[in-house]
């Protein structure tokens, strides 16, 4: 049975519709990301699940217990939902010590004092915070505060843990490390997590499934690989990864093959749903798929090199293909001038 089931959720702020019919399921042990640009409604969705926002239509169920049902007028208050919620700003209570912050949830559940002590110490220990239990939030670093926020949400073993941009307040270096251990933590503790993030690489690294939201509806959902390698819409394709977009006309369309004609170039690629014969189309290819070639060949173009940037492990070359910008990665520097660049057919999508 799914841990969390959301069905056809609608939510409006005043006259502004934010969620326009969103459904999702969260299975036991899964980490699901809610991904999307700002304004897409992902945080609102999370807060609605938590009980801090009030939808007006749809239903939310935890296992078999309904906590929201628009039709029946049922809205279980946030404090009764027994979920763990980690805020983007951590929201640690400044007047309580780390220990008290974490213990608060247990105190509310009338757990005995010594058991509280044991469990809190265990939770803090698991997050390497044991030595900080008597400190106050303002005495901790950002990373430490984040771990306290997580410990606080987990200590009473909620079935589902909700996280709002858990990593975005950390500095870049920490973020990379945190990605790994956060997923590791969730998996080890057999939790089910719903994580909101705007960073697609983060969501791919951490989750079993990704839900991409666009303007209040789910654009596409799937495993990270599916989302990355098989986008069904231009939005999805463009959101995941770093891409080149080429605008042109769909000159040929046969089965799953299409020919896109642009200004002084034409390229063959895989036709995606929505591509129409004779209509305007957009071609998209991931940066890392573009190859700098030796000479002319199949599906190759010859753009002018504008500039190259050294990124440490590779070079990023910026070409001008007519008026369009084309970026590619390469292992070494290039001399200025025209170069041949290959756009492999299988990796070039035409929408």
């Amino acid at each position: 049975m799914a841990e969390l089931t959301v069905e056809n959720l609608h939510l409006t702020y005043g006259t502004n519709p934010i969620l326009k019919g969103v459904s999702l399921t969260l299975n036991p042990g899964e980490v699901v990301s809610l991904l999307g640009p700002s304004g897409s409604g992902k945080t609102t969705l999370l807060r609605a699940v938590a009980g801090l926002e009030a939808p007006h239509r749809g239903s939310i169920k935890l296992r078999d217990r309904t906590i929201f049902d628009g039709a029946a007028g049922l809205d279980v208050p946030a404090e009764a939902r027994n979920l763990g919620l980690v805020f983007q700003s951590y929201a640690l209570w400044p007047h309580k010590t780390v220990f008290d912050n974490v213990a608060f949830g247990l105190k509310l559940r009338k757990v005995a004092a010594d058991e509280i002590s044991t469990r809190v110490k265990k939770a803090l220990g698991e997050l390497s915070l044991g030595h900080l239990s008597e400190r106050f939030p303002h005495q901790l670093s950002g990373g430490q505060q984040q771990r306290v926020a997580i410990a606080r949400a987990l200590v009473y073993n909620p079935p589902v843990i909700l996280m709002d941009e858990p990593l975005s307040n950390l500095d870049a270096k920490l973020r990379e490390e945190a990605r790994a251990w956060l997923r590791d933590l969730i998996v080890t503790m057999h939790l089910s997590a719903l994580v909101v993030t705007h960073d697609q690489s983060e969501s791919m690294a951490m989750s079993d499934r990704i839900l991409l939201l666009n303007n209040g509806v789910i654009e596409q959902q799937g495993t990270p690989q599916q989302m990355y390698a098989e986008p069904q819409t231009l939005f999805t394709a463009d959101f995941m990864g770093s891409n080149n977009r080429l605008a042109g006309q769909v000159a040929e369309l046969a089965g799953d093959q299409a020919l896109l004609k642009g200004e002084g170039w034409q390229l063959r690629g895989r036709a995606k749903p929505g591509a129409k014969m004779g209509a305007a189309g957009t071609g998209l290819i991931r940066l890392e798929r573009v190859r700098v070639a030796e000479g002319p060949g199949d599906n190759r173009v010859q753009p002018e090199l504008k500039t190259s940037m050294f990124l440490g492990d590779k070079w990023e070359h910026v070409f001008n293909l007519g008026a369009t910008m084309l970026r590619a990665h390469g292992p070494r520097a290039l001399s200025p001038g025209k170069h041949w660049v290959e756009i492999p057919r299988e990796d070039f999508w035409v929408f």
Binding site: A80, L83, S89, A91, W93, P94, F104, K110, H190
Partner: protein, 572 residues
């Protein structure tokens, strides 16, 4: 993984409903306490005689009389001018003082802070009297100035002087709000400005003060309110030139027809409330704008002071000048008067020195009782009052429904009624409502009247403290299973404690200097210094007035100093 039951069982309707009832009770009590006196006044304004007089008839005669009286219009104009002027003086000055004291490294801060607050706990009548003795036509300073410089270019009995003095003496009110608001700003916004090259003055003008604008607008509207209720000041300084304001006009009405004309007074009070209601609406709008300025978030950080550098001299000068004019001049006047038998042109002060006034005060039981009662009502009463205000604050916290709006309006209305008439209305209530009658002659009746009349003031500070608590902190608590009531108790309340204590201090100061509200409730046993000063002044015992005022000032100053020392901080 074991399943732990959620903190509130399934659904939590029981928890929610008991909270609802508590809220309903608070709101109901507030409504009754505010609307009771107000409706009595409105009712009275529509009659032609006291409402308990058998010969009364209904009608608009009271309003007709008032609107036809040219004194009313003159008084109205003067009130508006003075209220506006004093707001323009008090708000910028209060904000700047708060900025300098809160956010910079000004030296001697600890000494300045209590001194800045002095005008707000000295009875305005006493202060005005102090100004007359010190800077009036034959005041000490006037005479000295004439001896030294040949001129004393100030005219005390003028609208200008009244406006300036009113403005200066209301600076502490603005200061308290401004410093509370500045306290919760992160220093990063100011440091960003500094690193962009802004001097401390620039930082204040462009960053800090705009960020606390909502609180400042709030304070501005409240100070404007207070302008309409000024009584002691225009009474002492306005009388000589016949300059009337609404409250002294009302006072004049008391005897203009020979027998006290409650209906006329009530009509004027209703007019005042009608003027201030748009101000209430305005304030509500300001509240909404202020919501986006919540800054106590989970991310805690230290606050660093801005170095003043070459601005230190100017800042010190401003503060010292303010303190001199607003505090030292009138209080030295009072102190001098308390120790001499007479004064004026050609009087040799050293010959007139005496301690008789003080001896008398301490011998007379009515006075010693007044001193004791005043301490009591300020400390214990003040704490109880803040508790009540906090309860009301919670009833409207984070709930933007019709009830909250209702409470917002309710809270602001009593302050719009002149203290004099509010006190009279309370007397009527205590007289005519059977179960309240026994408490009339006790200090408790005084406390109730004070608490209701000053709702707007005390509650605003609490509301703004509440506003500064980031919703996330409360949401986090709810997500771990705390009911709304528990959240209020365990999370919000501890976090607003500095605000509560500041409120208590403010309420203490206000209660100590209150004088008009208690005048009608005065009875043996519940005397308070303020109301007693009014009757003493009326009777002409100016030396006792001076002595008692000095005692009052010293008492409150001591209380303030003790509080600040014990860690009740208005800064940090």
């Amino acid at each position: 993984m074991s399943a732990v039951p959620s903190a509130l069982g399934g659904g939590g309707p029981r928890g929610a409903s008991s909270f609802f009832t508590w809220r309903a009770l608070t709101i109901l009590t507030t409504a009754v306490a505010v609307l009771g006196p107000l409706s009595l006044i409105v009712y009275q304004s529509l009659l032609t005689a006291p409402f308990f007089d058998a010969r009364k008839t209904a009608g608009f005669g009271a309003y007709a009389f008032v609107f036809a009286d040219e004194d009313f219009w003159k008084a109205l104009r003067n009130s508006v001018v003075i209220a506006g002027g004093m707001t323009l003086i008090a708000v910028p000055l209060g904000a700047i003082l708060a900025f300098v004291m809160e956010r910079t490294d000004l030296p001697f801060k600890r000494w300045f802070e209590p001194l800045i607050l002095v005008p707000s706990f000295v009875s305005p009548m006493v202060l005005s009297f102090g100004f007359v003795v010190a800077a009036g036509p034959v005041g000490f300073y006037t005479v000295w100035s004439q001896d030294l410089f040949g001129v004393a270019p100030w005219g005390l009995y003028s609208i200008l002087a009244m406006t300036v003095i009113a403005g200066l003496t209301h600076v502490p009110n603005v200061y308290v709000y401004a410093s509370a608001a500045l306290k919760s700003l992160g220093s990063d916004v100011e440091e960003a400005a500094r690193s962009a090259g802004a001097s401390p003055f620039r930082v204040a003008m462009s960053v800090s003060l705009p960020l606390i604008l909502p609180s400042m607008l709030f304070a501005a509207v409240l100070v404007f309110f207070l302008g309409f209720e000024l009584f002691g000041l225009p009474l002492v300084l306005g009388d000589p030139e016949g300059i009337l304001v609404l409250s002294t006009y009302l006072y004049k009405l008391t005897n203009k027809l020979g027998t006290p004309s409650y209906h006329l007074m009530a009509a004027v009070a209703v007019c005042i409330v009608a003027i201030t209601f748009p101000l209430v609406l305005l304030q509500r709008k300001l509240l909404q704008g202020a919501r986006k300025y919540a800054t106590i978030k989970g991310k805690a950080g230290r606050m660093r002071e801005l170095p003043l550098g070459k601005w230190t001299g100017l800042a010190l000068f401003i503060i010292v000048a303010y303190l001199f004019v607003t505090v030292i001049v009138p209080i030295s006047g009072i102190a001098l008067r308390a120790f001499v038998t007479n004064w004026g042109f050609g009087v040799n002060l050293s010959e007139a020195f005496t301690l008789d006034s003080f001896r008398y005060v301490f011998q007379e039981t009515t006075h010693t009782r007044a001193i004791w009662n005043t301490i009591l009502i300020g400390t214990v009463g003040g704490a109880l009052t803040v508790a009540c205000y906090t309860a009301i604050g919670f009833a409207t916290h984070r709930r933007d429904d019709g009830w909250s709006r209702l409470v917002d309006y309710l809270v602001l209305v009593p302050r719009a009624i002149p203290g004099l008439l509010a006190g009279l209305a309370f007397l009527w209530i205590f007289l005519f409502v059977p179960f309240l009658a026994p408490i009339r002659a006790t200090i408790f009746s005084m406390w109730i009247a004070y608490t209701v009349v000053w709702l707007a003031y005390g509650m605003r500070l609490i509301s703004s403290s509440l506003m500064q608590v980031a919703p996330e902190l409360e949401e986090a608590a709810r997500s771990v299973g705390a009911s709304r009531a528990t959240v209020s108790r365990k999370i919000t309340l501890p976090l607003i404690r500095p605000g509560l204590i500041a409120s208590w201090l403010l309420v203490f100061m206000i209660f100590e200097r209150e004088y008009s509200t208690g005048v009608y409730l005065l009875a043996p046993g519940n005397e308070v210094i303020g109301a007693q000063l009014v009757s003493l002044w009326q009777g002409g015992a100016i030396d006792i007035v001076a002595a008692l005022s000095l005692i009052n000032i010293l008492l409150v100053g001591a209380g303030l100093a003790v509080a600040l020392r014990l860690g009740v901080k208005l800064r940090d």
